[in-house]
C-alpha cells in the first residue's frame, strides 16, 4: 500500500517517528521562550543575578552534565545494538541509561536540598526562581524519560515486538532531554 | 442485553425526592419569599441570627438529598442509549452534564450553612457568604440547560417508528432550557426581574425546574415501564422491581 511504503521510506531518513521530532521541535520552542525570558530579565538586573548565581556550585553542574551525556551515549549504543539485532546488549544499554538518569536525579535533588539549606528558595530571588523553575521542569521531562525508557525496555524484551522505530523514537526523546539540560547548564551555571 | 433489575426502585425514589426537596425548599426562610439582594449587611446578619435553626435544618436536608436526582438522570441516559442513534455521543454528553450538576448546588448549600454557623460574625462577611450562595444557586443553570438541549437533540435524532420519547418532550425540553437562560444573568442587577429574587431568576427558573422534574419523571416512567413490557413480552424473566 502506498501509505506503508511511504512510512518505511521515511524511516530510512529520519530515525524514529517523525512525530517525535515534531514534539521535540515544539518543546524546544517552548524552552527557547523560557530561556528568552531568563536572558531578558537577567539584563534588567545583572548584579543581582550574578550575586545569586555565585552561590551555585559549578562542579555539581558539570558532574550532572557529564552524567547525562554518558546516558545519551549509552542510549545511542542501545539503538546501534538493536539495529544489529543484539537485543540483550541493547537491553543492558537501556538499563545503563536509566542508571545514569537515576544518578542525575539524585545529584539534582541533593543540589536543591543544599540550596534550600543555604537559604535560597523558589521565591527568594529572581535568579533562584528561574533556577528552580528551569531545573524543575527539566526534572519533570527526565521523569517522563524514565517512562519512555520503560517503553524501550518493553519493546526490546519480547521478540514479538522489538520495533526499531519505537526504540529510535525513545532515543530521540532521551537525547532531547540531554540537549535541553546542556542548554540549561550553559545558561544557569556558565554564563556569567 | 442490558440488565434492568432495580430500575423501578430507582425510578420510584423520584416522588420521595420531590417531597423532600419541596419540604426543604419551603422550610428555608430565604426562599418563601426570596431574600432581597438589596438588604444591607446588618439586615442579612439579622436574618441569619433570627432564622439560624430553620436555615440549618433545611440546608442540611438539602445537603443529604441534593444528589437524589442523579439516578433519575442516569435512567434518562439509559433511555437515550436505546434511541436509534449511530453514535453514543448524546448519552456521553448527557452523562457529562449529570456528573457535575449537583456540585454547584451543593456549593450554594454550603455557603448558606456557613453563613448560619456563626451568626455573630462580622455582618459584611455574612453578606459575602450570602451573596455567594445566592448567585451560585441562581446561576447553576448551565448543566440544566445542557441536559435539556441535549435531550431535545437526542429525541429529534431518534429516527424510528416508535421513538423512546415523543417529539413533544423535545419541544418541552427546549422551552425549559429557554426559561432557564435568564437566570444566568442574575449578576446584572440587584433589583428587577433578573435579580436573584426577581421573576425571571427566581420564580421562572425554579418553577421551570420543578415542572421539568415532574414531567420528565412521568415521561421517563412511561418509557421504563414500556421497555419492561417489551422485554417481558419477549419472554424474559424480570425481577419485580
Amino acid at each position: 500500500m502506498a501509505v506503508l511504503a511511504d512510512k518505511t521510506e521515511r524511516a530510512r531518513f529520519i530515525p524514529g517517528q517523525a512525530d517525535m521530532w515534531a514534539f521535540v521541535l515544539f518543546e524546544s520552542l517552548v524552552f527557547t521562550a523560557y530561556f528568552g525570558f531568563y536572558l531578558f530579565y537577567r539584563t534588567q538586573n545583572p548584579e543581582a543575578f550574578l550575586h545569586s548565581q555565585a552561590q551555585l556550585d559549578l562542579r555539581v553542574g558539570v558532574l550532572n552534565t557529564l552524567v547525562l551525556l554518558l546516558s545519551s551515549w549509552s542510549m545511542a549504543r542501545c539503538v546501534q545494538s538493536a539495529r544489529a539485532g543484539a537485543y540483550q546488549a541493547a537491553l543492558r544499554d537501556v538499563y545503563l541509561t536509566a542508571f545514569f538518569g537515576g544518578v542525575f536525579l539524585c545529584v539534582k535533588v541533593f543540589e536543591w536540598a543544599r540550596q534550600i539549606q543555604l537559604g535560597n528558595n523558589f521565591d527568594t530571588s529572581d535568579f533562584f526562581t528561574y533556577y528552580f523553575f528551569l531545573t524543575g521542569i527539566h526534572f519533570v521531562h527526565l521523569l517522563i524519560g524514565f517512562v519512555v525508557l520503560g517503553v524501550a525496555v518493553y519493546q526490546l524484551r519480547s521478540p514479538a515486538r522489538r520495533s526499531q522505530q519505537l526504540v529510535e523514537t525513545c532515543a530521540t526523546y532521551w537525547h532531547t532531554v540531554d540537549f535541553l539540560w546542556v542548554l540549561i547548564f550553559a545558561l544557569l551555571y556558565v554564563v556569567r | 442485553m442490558r440488565r434492568i433489575d432495580g430500575e423501578l426502585i430507582l425510578l420510584w425514589t423520584l416522588p420521595a425526592t420531590i417531597v423532600i426537596w419541596l419540604a426543604a425548599f419551603v422550610l428555608f426562610p430565604g426562599f418563601m419569599p426570596p431574600m432581597s439582594p438589596t438588604m444591607s449587611a446588618n439586615e442579612v446578619a439579622a436574618f441569619y441570627r433570627d432564622n439560624a435553626a430553620a436555615v440549618r435544618s433545611s440546608m442540611i436536608v438539602f445537603n443529604w438529598f441534593g444528589v437524589c436526582l442523579v439516578p433519575i438522570l442516569i435512567l434518562i441516559v439509559m433511555q437515550i442509549r436505546r434511541m436509534a442513534h449511530r453514535t453514543p455521543i448524546f448519552s456521553y454528553a448527557m452523562l457529562g452534564c449529570v456528573a457535575s450538576g449537583p456540585a454547584l448546588f451543593l456549593i450554594a448549600n454550603v455557603c448558606w450553612l456557613l453563613a448560619a454557623f456563626r451568626p455573630e460574625r462580622n455582618p459584611e462577611l455574612t453578606q459575602l457568604l450570602n451573596d455567594f450562595a445566592w448567585i451560585t444557586f441562581t446561576i447553576l443553570v448551565p448543566y440544566l440547560i445542557g441536559q435539556s438541549v441535549i435531550l431535545a437533540l437526542a429525541i429529534y435524532f431518534d429516527d424510528q417508528p416508535n421513538p423512546i420519547f415523543k417529539r413533544w418532550v423535545a419541544l418541552f425540553n427546549l422551552l425549559v432550557a429557554a426559561a432557564l437562560v435568564p437566570a444566568a444573568f442574575v449578576g446584572v442587577s440587584l433589583t428587577g426581574p433578573l435579580a436573584w429574587d426577581g421573576v425571571l431568576s427566581f420564580w421562572v427558573k425554579n418553577i421551570a425546574i420543578a415542572v421539568w422534574i415532574v414531567v420528565m419523571g412521568i415521561v421517563l416512567g412511561q418509557a421504563v415501564y414500556r421497555e419492561r413490557a417489551e422485554r417481558g413480552s419477549r419472554g424474559e424473566e424480570l425481577v419485580d422491581a
Partner: protein, 271 residues
C-alpha cells in the same frame, strides 16, 4: 447498547450544491450528523468563549496581583455590566462544553483501547469545569455586585477568581495525559502520534502555571509571561489543532471497529 441503524446507501452521499445546503445536509441527514453537530457545537462554543472573556467581560488578560485595593475596586467597577452580561452568556452556553467532551470521548471509543479512557476523560472534564471555570465566574460576578463592599472582601474575590483560573489547571492536566496515552497506544490510527505528543505539551504547560499560587509578581504570577502568556499561546495552538484533528477524524469515520481509513488523496486536494 445503543441501537445502531444502517441508513440506505443512497442517503450516505451529500448532494452537490452550494456550501450552506451541504452543511445543512451534513447536520441533519448525513449518517454522521451526530458527529458533525457535536463538532459544530464545539466550533461555536470556542468562537464565543474567547471573545466573551477577552472583549465583553474583559477579564482576560488578567490584571495584576500586585494592585492595591483601590485599583482592584476600580477594575471591578469598570466591568460592573460587562462581567455579569458576558459571564452570563458563558453560563447560558456552558452546557455545550459537555458536547465537546462527548466528541472527544467518542474519539477514544473509536480507538482500539478500553472504554475506560473515554469515560475517565468525560468525567474529569465534566467536573473540572467547576473549579476551572464556573466558580471563578461566580467570584467575579459577586465582586461586581456591591461597589461599596469592604475592599478586603473584594480582594478575596479578586484573588479567588484569578487563582482559580490559573491554579486549577491540574484537573485539565490529567485529562490531557489520558487522551495522550489513548492516542499513543491506539492501533486504529484515529489520530497521528504527533497529536498525542501535543497533548503532552499541553499537559506540561498546565504544570507550569501552578507557581501562580506562590508568586505575586514576575513571570510566574497569574498574569506572568510564562504562567499566562506562554500558557495561552500553547493552549491556543492545542485548541485549534484538536478542532482540526476532530474534523479530520469525522471525515474519515467509517463506523467500523478497525483502523480508521485515510482520506482519499483526491478529496484532500479538492478540500
Amino acid at each position: 447498547m445503543s441501537a445502531v441503524i444502517t441508513p440506505p446507501e443512497s442517503a450516505a452521499t451529500p448532494p452537490a450544491g452550494p456550501l450552506h445546503q451541504r452543511i445543512v445536509w451534513h447536520l441533519s441527514r448525513s449518517p454522521k450528523r451526530e458527529l458533525w453537530l457535536a463538532w459544530a457545537t464545539m466550533l461555536v462554543f470556542y468562537n464565543m468563549f474567547f471573545p466573551i472573556f477577552f472583549i465583553v467581560a474583559q477579564v482576560q488578560p488578567p490584571p495584576q496581583p500586585t494592585w492595591d485595593h483601590a485599583m482592584q475596586v476600580h477594575w471591578f467597577n469598570e466591568r460592573h455590566l460587562g462581567i455579569p452580561l458576558g459571564l452570563g452568556i458563558i453560563f447560558a452556553i456552558g452546557g455545550m462544553n459537555s458536547i465537546n467532551n462527548a466528541l472527544i470521548a467518542y474519539s477514544m471509543r473509536r480507538m482500539s483501547i478500553t472504554r475506560v479512557f473515554g469515560y475517565s476523560y468525560l468525567i474529569i472534564y465534566a467536573l473540572s469545569a467547576i473549579p476551572g471555570l464556573y466558580l471563578l465566574c461566580i467570584a467575579l460576578i459577586v465582586g461586581t455586585l456591591r461597589p461599596e463592599r469592604n475592599p478586603e472582601a473584594i480582594e478575596w474575590l479578586y484573588d479567588f477568581a484569578f487563582l482559580s483560573f490559573d491554579g486549577t489547571m491540574g484537573v485539565f492536566l490529567i485529562g490531557s495525559l489520558i487522551w495522550m496515552v489513548a492516542i499513543l497506544i491506539d492501533k486504529n490510527r484515529v489520530f497521528p502520534k504527533w497529536f498525542g505528543y501535543l497533548n503532552l505539551c499541553n499537559a506540561l504547560t498546565e504544570l507550569v502555571v501552578a507557581p501562580c499560587w506562590i508568586f505575586r509578581r514576575g513571570v510566574l504570577a497569574w498574569n506572568g509571561q510564562i504562567a499566562w502568556w506562554l500558557d495561552m499561546v500553547v493552549f491556543g495552538v492545542y485548541q485549534v489543532t484538536f478542532i482540526v484533528m476532530l474534523f479530520q477524524m469525522i471525515r474519515r469515520e467509517d463506523f467500523g471497529t478497525g483502523p480508521l481509513p485515510d482520506l482519499p488523496r483526491k478529496k484532500k486536494v479538492a478540500a
